[in-house]
Amino acid sequence: MAGLNKSILDNPILIVNHLKKWFTILLIPIIRGLSAGNALGHPMPNSVVLLTLHSDHISTELQIPLSELQAAIGIPVNDSSAQLVDRLGSELRAYLTKHINPKTLDGKPWRVTIGALKVHETQNAINGVYRELTAQLELTPPAGADIRKFILDYDAVLHQVVTHKILVSVSQDWAAGKLAEDAPAQVGVIELDIVNNRILPLTINLEAGSAWKGLISMVRLGIQHIAEGTDHLLFILVLLLPAPLLHTRRRWTDFGGIRYSLSRLLWIVSAFTVGHSVILLLGALGWVRLPSQPVEIMIALSILVSAIHAIRPLFPGKETWIATGFGLIHGMAFANTLANLSLDAGRMALSILGFNVGIELMQLLIIIVTIPWLILLSRTPVYRIVRLTGAVLAAVAAIAWTAERVTGTANAWAGMVERIAGYSPYFVFLLALLAIFFTIRTRQLKNA
């Protein structure tokens, strides 16, 4: 979703654009193109260097195809790759240490720490299945040196196998607004300079980053998260369905007035926000961590409960507390997203702030485009039908999601929900038409 990379603030019609995003994201399947489509040759697999920029160091993953490594070092690492790391770990570390020498532009060496080594199978369209060695490295510049401009002197395999290619990409760069959810961006290739028969190190020169860019990208991520999360959207809507109504102990009754409706809306939305903000903070800092499957199941169940509540009041007058509780659950899903970014403390704090702002903006947008119609409709007799239809559909979706998330296998109903969700803007339109039509009609009937 490269469109999300544009700064929000560059665009005065931010809200409109993100509503558009909400449409297009849901309407257009995200296709991650087959990268091989542009390849001209290179039947032998390449090496890959993936950089994740932090404030004071760069986490790096090296991916080295074993067949090529074998040709380079003359040890049968590919022919007999079983327990390779156990058998040859120290030799491989020594080899990598020798062949990765990042340095500042004026030649001062960076510190290199080699972490976990692993052998696993991978595949691509050109080479089919093959085995590769991955190494997790930490590259740290000398104090005061620029982390965004340096020389990457790396020539493992290539120093010997001159037809080898090393693709260098940035997979996460918070300060430039690039998150791990985006596809890695290639910043260069280390390869033989055929004409002069030499291998030049790669000069990395990344665009200037800032806390502001990082913050904005997190706002974007928050917006995207709600816009793409049909379950979060549906939860908010179904929670708001009965908000304009008065109730007895057993059933929903009449419209409670504008002031009553708005105040209840405000309380419910604020409570949900407080709930998920608190847990987002705790979760992103690593103090609370739940595996995502139970969280996802609880989210589906929270929609079911809210849907039933919209049909018959389950917890009348206590929506605020329920919304807070459900906020805690939804917040855990948000927190998992942030925790996966593994940021350092200062950036994590900004990220929590930005991510939360994004979530609020998107929530606010949804409320603004739907609530006026709900309030209008709730003053007409047809609201009962609208509310019940909406609640039943939400309940069906919630049951489908629960089944999907418990069993771990996709089902047709959940798939249909996602497809229908693609048309949500049209439902808003339909809702608006209904609201206008019945409001006018109700007035005419009263006047008559």
């Binding site: 489509g37 001209l40 028969n197």
Partner: protein, 405 residues
């Protein structure tokens, strides 16, 4: 009641306007396809660092042809009888132009517009050693031709390549198609096979102007860049094969690159140990260096052993290897090129890496002369695992793409 209602009317208008404004923006995000044109998605270790050309193009991406169609193509093409009668009076370039126009005359409007491209170097550079399904080609593939069109295309190729030499010239081309049919049924699937080989006509065929006929598919690319009296270029020509073992179809057996391999082994093993030491490169090679996308990157300094320092019989072995590339062309064209390469033989260098017997992955040979450039690289199997297969490229320092650098 009425008062609160009137507050809502302007609000209502605002939301309607917002909604309509949003609808205007419901278009596919133009940035989204950028993902698929990225050069080499890191993470899956595939893809090259890019080069000329891009994704898509007329025809090409996702090319696939059923095994039945691919086998029908080789069955229709493997015999070497010219059926064209109208171009018989012409010779040389005039005959090629006549046969190209005769081929074009058989094509429907849509095929004609697909096969004919304006001349540009970028269009000429749209070749690869990969299957067309993995690296898009321009033009039309063999699977899209009917019997009449295929016969006209065959007549054209018969005029351009050496005939009736086992595993050389036209027979080598057919052998490459047959081997690709074998890959299709050996796990490669429908992106492999004779149906996925493309022909394009780049520029307008004429005896005076610049134009190119390009035939390119997996493991076989042969361009002809015609430029009137300025001469013709036959390179960069790519030759490779998988499987390496002999394959049969239509009662004929093919092993298109075996002669080349044996010729290189004969040359390398004939050298004395000091000559071998001089020719041996310290680097290793997993492929040819000047493959697709590496145009005009000839090394500034030639490496290895100077052919002029060798005895006449060893020099003849170098020339034998060169002939297996040059003599793929029709005899008249081949003779002119071979004269040039023979004259330049003393200043030509040979070098190698790996074994002199040319039997294992990473075995590599290079012939680098003032004009000629030939590389032969033995490398691991892709579809037929655990069996090496060769890639080979023939280039010319000055007449690659007809010298249109």
């Amino acid at each position: 009641m009425t008062r609160s209602f009137s507050i809502f009317m302007p609000l209502l208008g605002f939301f309607m306007a917002t909604f309509i404004a949003c609808q205007d923006h419901v278009t596919p995000d133009p940035d989204t396809p950028a993902d698929s044109t990225g050069t080499g998605m890191p993470g899956d270790s595939s893809g090259g660092p890019g080069g000329p050309g891009g994704n898509g193009g007329p025809g090409g991406n996702g090319s696939s042809a059923s095994v039945e169609v691919s086998k029908a193509i080789t069955a229709a093409m493997y015999t070497m009888t010219m059926t064209n009668t109208s171009c018989g009076g012409a010779t040389g370039l005039a005959k090629v132009v006549c046969l190209t126009q005769a081929f074009q005359a058989t094509l429907s409007d849509s095929l004609l517009s697909a096969v004919q491209l304006p001349y540009s170097l970028a269009n000429a550079q749209k070749w690869s050693n990969l299957p067309a399904g993995l690296s898009a080609r321009y033009g039309i593939n063999q699977a899209s031709l009917d019997e009449t069109q295929r016969t006209a295309f065959k007549d054209l190729m018969l005029a351009l390549l050496a005939l009736n030499v086992t595993d050389e010239g036209y027979d080598e081309m057919i052998g490459s198609l047959v081997a690709d049919n074998v890959l299709a049924v050996s796990g490669g699937g429908t992106t492999y096979g004779a149906g996925n080989f493309y022909v394009s006509i780049i520029g307008t065929p004429s005896t005076t102007g610049l134009w190119e006929l390009l035939f390119t598919g997996h493991h076989y690319t042969q361009p002809y860049t015609f430029n009137g009296t300025a001469g013709t270029g036959y390179t960069p020509a790519f030759r490779a094969i998988e499987p390496t073992y002999a394959v049969s179809e239509n009662g004929k057996t093919y092993q298109p690159m075996e002669q080349e391999r044996l010729a290189f082994a004969a040359l390398l093993t004939s050298l004395s140990s000091s000559e071998q030491a001089a020719a041996k490169l310290s680097s290793s090679f997993g492929d040819v260096v000047l493959g697709p996308g590496q145009d005009w990157k000839f090394p500034a300094t030639k490496v290895g052993l100077k052919v002029g320092s060798l005895t006449a019989d060893k020099q003849a072995l170098v020339l034998n290897a060169i002939k297996l590339y040059v003599n793929d062309l029709d005899p008249t064209s081949a003779a002119a090129v071979l004269t040039k390469y023979t004259n330049e033989l003393p200043d030509t260098y040979i070098s190698y890496a790996g074994n002199t017997s040319v039997t294992a992955a990473n075995d590599y040979i290079r012939i680098d002369g003032p004009s000629v450039w030939i590389e032969f690289s033995y490398q691991g199997g892709v579809i037929i695992k655990n069996m090496p297969h060769p890639h080979s490229v023939w280039r010319d320092h000055t007449t690659d793409y007809g010298g249109t650098k």
